[in-house]
């Protein structure tokens, strides 16, 4: 099989993980206009949650459920008692506070689990590879593609086909209008924030068997998430999907075309999109 076709498929796999990582960040910004630099820390907590629950003897499938749930609950508390108080402040303050929270969480992880990385094994059923002619691909990554696709379908169905989705979409246009309609916008904000954090945690759980866990993985994830959101368009769910896939495919393709620039090119892609479409591919002015 042509190496570029192999890289395309691999890029879709990587891109799907990036989508799961970034979609929460995009939705939080879209509705709350809140710049959440703690998003990478939620990814970190999800990954370490997976590691810790596995150490306690729980199988991977439970960690996949419990990790995002626990982090989502923590995020809801943080939103209720801290972030809610700063929504009206300038974005610089959002950054300051969420960076602080991210640093604290990172140090907590170092204190609790040490500065060294740890390995997390994929579940037994997903160990090994699928072989398709010359193409060899880890079963676990195929599973990640499946989870990403399922997430995209569920989020699309909720946003487009339910009352809650309609409120979220309306809220992203005008929160004042939604409030005037008598809806409890604070509760909606809390739910959306918790959902955004839970998707980051889900990405962390999914990433743990691929790259292991270490205390600094949140910072790396945050930069990729921002690139995806900026490329796709801030606040756009579909943008996160397109951005994630584009970034994953660019990174993978460049591994063959110009390997040293594979990482750099995702930022070049971001700069190019910003030049051509300042609001991102699917972002609105």
């Amino acid at each position: 099989m042509n190496v570029y076709l192999l890289q395309l498929i691999n890029g879709i796999g990587t891109g799907m993980l990036y989508f799961v990582l970034a979609v929460g960040l995009s939705i939080i910004f879209g509705l709350l206009r809140f710049v959440n630099f703690a998003h990478g820390a939620f990814f970190l907590l999800g990954a370490y949650g997976c590691y810790q629950l596995a150490q306690l003897g729980l199988n991977f499938w439970w960690t996949l459920l419990l990790g995002p749930l626990i982090v989502g609950c923590l995020a809801m508390l943080a939103e209720t008692y801290l972030f809610r108080k700063v929504y009206k402040l300038p974005h610089e303050m959002h950054i300051l506070i969420t960076v602080g929270i991210a640093m604290v969480l990172q140090e907590v992880v170092i204190t609790q689990w040490g500065p060294l990385g740890h390995n997390v094994s994929p579940p037994e059923a997903l160990q090994g590879v699928v072989i398709w002619g010359d193409f060899v691909y880890p079963k676990y990554r195929v599973f990640v593609i499946g989870v990403g696709a399922m997430m995209a379908l569920i989020i699309a169905a909720v946003l487009e086909g339910t009352r809650l989705g309609a409120i979220v979409r309306a809220g992203s246009e005008s929160t004042e209008m939604v409030s005037l309609l008598g809806l409890n916008i604070k509760r909606i904000f809390s739910l959306v924030f918790a959902f955004g954090a839970a998707t980051a945690a889900l990405a962390g759980v999914l990433a743990a068997p691929i790259r292991g866990v270490d205390p600094f993985m949140g910072v790396e994830a945050l930069s990729v998430a921002f690139v995806v959101v900026v490329v796709g368009g801030m606040g756009s769910f579909a943008g996160a999907l397109v951005g994630g896939l584009l970034v994953g495919i660019v990174q993978s393709m460049m591994s063959t075309i110009w390997p040293p620039g594979a990482n750099l090119m995702i930022y070049v892609a971001m700069a190019t999109v910003l030049l051509l479409r300042p609001n991102g591919i699917l972002g609105r002015a």
Partner: protein
Amino acid sequence: MTNRRDFLKLTAAAGLTATPLFSAAQTEDLVFACPTAMSGNFSAIGKFSEIGVRYAIEQQGTLLGKKLRYRMIDTEAKPATAVRRVQEAMQQHNIKFFPGALLSAESLAMSKEIDRAGGVFLTNAGADEITGIECNRSTFRWAVPTYGIIQGSVRPAADLLPKAKRWYTITPQYVFGDDLLKNAKNLFKEKGIEHVGNSYHSLTEKEFSGHLTNAIATKADVLLLLNYGAQASDTLRQAVSFGMKRNMTIVVAVASGLEQFESLGADICEDIYFGAVYWHTIDTNLNKKLVSDVREKYKITPNYSLAAPFICTRLLMDGIIKANSLEPAAVIASLEGMKFEGLTGMEEVRKEDHQVLRDFYLLKGKAKAKMRDKDDYAEILNAGRSFLSAAEAGCKMA
């Protein structure tokens, strides 16, 4: 509740108490300073280094009638910070002896500064320049340069795999990676090995699946990883998940130590070849004592980040004892050409470039079922030493 005034009082009191403590150390004690990363991404290095230095210092106790003390200097893995803090240590606290640094970029920067200010620096950095074109009178190195790493890992691995004639490399694009690749290519040529491809990657890379896809497409016999530390772990973990153990042999040119095996786990490390500067089962008297003492006292098994600062501190103390002086020039002169029982056996400080001549190891990962204890991840397959001459390495000592 503490108010602002109380807080200021407490802070002032703490400051007053701390200052005389260090002044006392200046006049009565002999202080070694270990400049290494204690915070940030490389903080694990600092944690183990501190134990290595502490063990060496406590074991010795006093030197030339002075009580031995040590302090850790947090370089934050930043060359500029490292240089600034070393300057402070030399100018404000009159510290002259600096054992135990590990990272290349900051070691190169500190090496120049310590030489300019007339101190003594013992490092374990991998960059060839340390005892090559940037060598200087004040700097000594216990770790092995890239030529020795490739000769100690790739050569014996190639000998063990005579049918493996197609090798693919993955290389970090910076000086250390480039030097490893250059030496590997020279060896491939000598051995009649076909170098079927190389993937360079940046130092910020975490996702290696694209590079591994390239390697799979070449149908190479061997995947040689020339990256180090967390990047080597990420590449190896992903290579194993891509099923590359099935039809390729994987060789890691230089492992970062026991902590790397711990973070990867036995299942991933099984049947992988690793080059190693240090391994805790090296069969020498000094290493056996180090392992036994550290296990008893600190309940851990020494890794490279612990053993290397230990031996640098030990070597520095031996130099001072031999010189019977605390003058850096006398200590440097006594270290030059010194032969000593080191962690790897009889070791020697080469006078011409201050490189310590010692063994380098090739390990092979064991199956989990064959591990005799929780740290028995690998067996030593080969030990040997290969060094370019000082002239070939480019060292012109001033």
